[in-house]
Symmetry: C2
Subunit: 240 residues, 2 copies
C-alpha cells in the first residue's frame, strides 16, 4: 500500500516556489556552510526563505546558525521556529541530539515523517541541507520532493570531485535539474573542477577561497555573511 | 534464520592479529588518507598488512594507492591483489565503479558478502577504511567483525568534533575499544580537540598539520609516505 504521507508531502511543499537541495558527493566539503549561508542570503535580500537540515549523518546547521532554545511549535503539524529570519527545521528536532543512530528504515521514516508534518509558510526559497552522497535518504528525497533542484558543493580535491561525478551522473540519469556546482575551500589556482563541471554540461557557479575566518563565525550568522564566503554566496544567490 | 555468512566472517578473520577500523564522525576529514597511510606504514616496517575499503559512500583508497588493473583472484573465494605491499580489497570491486547507488539493504548485503568471501592471509594488521558516521553499515561492522578496534580521525573544526563525540559515545556504550583520536588538517595552535578527547578518557594520538603537498601525492604512495602526514602517521603506527 502506498504511504499516505507521500501525497501529504506534495501538498505541504506546494506553496514553495523553489526548493534547492544543497548536496555533495562526499562529506566535509562545506555543504552545510553553503546551505546555511545561501538561505541567510535569501532572507537578507527580502525573500521568504526556509532552511531544512536533512543531513542525518552530521546535522550542523543549528550550530552554524547558533540555534539556542528555538523549538518547533505543534499545531496540527510542526511549525518551524524563525531563526535569523529563516523558517528553520532540522532532523535534530526528531533525534534530540542523542547519540543513538537511526537504522536505515528508521532514517527514511524520520525523513518522511518530518517532511509530512512540517508546516512551511509560502516561501520563495526552501534550502535543503542534504545528506552527503547518493545513499537511500537522497534517493527518497528525490522521489518525495516535487520540483527539487540540486546545487552541488565540492572542494578542489580530485577525491571529492570523483564523488561529485557519480552524483551528477545519477541526477542526470534521473532527469533531476542541477543548478550548478560550487567549488569550496579553494587553495590553489586551477580550472580543473570548472572544466570538468562544464564537460558535464553543468553550470559552474563559482569558487570560494579557503577562509580561516570561517571557524570563528560558527554560530554567528552576521559574521558569516561578512566573510569572503558570505560575499561569494551572495553573488551565487543572485545568479540562481 | 541467522545468516550463515556471519559465522564464516569470524572464521575468515580469525588469523588476523589486529583489525583497526579507521573511522570518523563526518566525511572529509582525511579518514581514507589516514587509513591508507597507516596500512602503508605497517607494510613498510615489515608487518604483514592489509587494507580493506568499506567506505561505500565515497571509496577512494584505490585512488590514493594508484591502483590500476590489479584485481582480486577468484579461488574458493576472493584473493586480494597485492598493491604496494598490501593485501588490498575494496567495495569498488563489488560495484565496479558504477554510479548506481546501493540501497540500504543492498549496501549491508554487499559488505557482508565481501567480508565473507575475502580470503586474507595471516596478517599482523588489517586496516579498515570505514564508512563515515554511525549509520547502518558501521553498526553492521561492529556486530560482524570480531576484535574490531577504532581509530578516529577528526579535523580541528568543532563541527567535525561534535560528530566524533557522538561516535565515541556510541562506541563506549557498545564497549568497542577505541585506540585513539588523530587530529588532521590542523591549521592553528589549539589544544581544544586534545582536551576534549582526553575528557572522554580516550588517548589523543597526535595532530597532523594541514599539508598542501598531499593533493600532489594522490596515487603516489612513496611520495605520500614522505610527506609530513606520512611521517606523523609513521609515529602513530609505532604507538599502536
Amino acid at each position: 500500500m502506498a504511504d499516505p504521507r507521500t501525497s501529504i508531502i506534495s501538498e505541504r511543499l506546494r506553496r514553495i516556489r523553489r526548493i534547492i537541495a544543497v548536496s555533495s558527493g562526499k562529506g566535509g566539503v562545506g555543504k552545510s556552510l553553503v546551505a546555511t549561508t545561501l538561505a541567510l542570503n535569501f532572507a537578507k535580500k527580502g525573500c521568504k526563505a526556509g532552511l531544512f537540515d536533512l543531513d542525518f549523518t552530521s546535522p550542523s546547521t543549528h550550530l552554524l546558525l547558533g540555534v539556542t532554545d528555538e523549538q518547533p511549535r505543534e499545531e496540527k503539524g510542526l511549525i518551524p521556529p524563525i531563526v535569523q529570519g529563516l523558517e528553520y527545521m532540522s532532523l535534530i528536532y526528531y533525534s534530540s541530539g542523542q547519540a543513538a543512530p537511526l537504522r536505515g528504515a528508521d532514517t527514511s521514516n524520520a525523513l518522511i515523517e518530518l517532511l509530512a508534518v512540517t508546516l512551511w509558510n509560502d516561501l520563495d526559497f526552501l534550502v535543503l541541507d542534504m545528506p552527503p552522497g547518493i545513499g537511500d535518504a537522497v534517493l527518497d528525497l528525490i522521489r518525495l520532493v516535487p520540483r527539487i533542484e540540486f546545487l552541488v558543493v565540492t572542494t578542489s580535491s580530485q577525491l571529492a570531485f570523483e564523488t561529485v561525478k557519480k552524483l551528477v551522473s545519477l541526477l542526470q540519469e534521473l532527469k533531476v535539474p542541477v543548478v550548478g556546482v560550487v567549488e569550496n575551500m579553494k587553495m590553489t589556482e586551477s580550472r580543473n573542477v570548472q572544466r570538468q563541471t562544464e564537460a558535464f554540461g553543468i553550470k559552474f557557479l563559482g569558487e570560494i577561497p579557503y577562509d580561516p575566518e570561517i571557524e570563528g563565525s560558527i554560530g554567528k550568522p552576521d559574521k558569516l555573511l561578512g566573510t569572503v564566503l558570505g560575499k561569494k554566496i551572495k553573488e551565487i544567490s543572485q545568479s540562481l
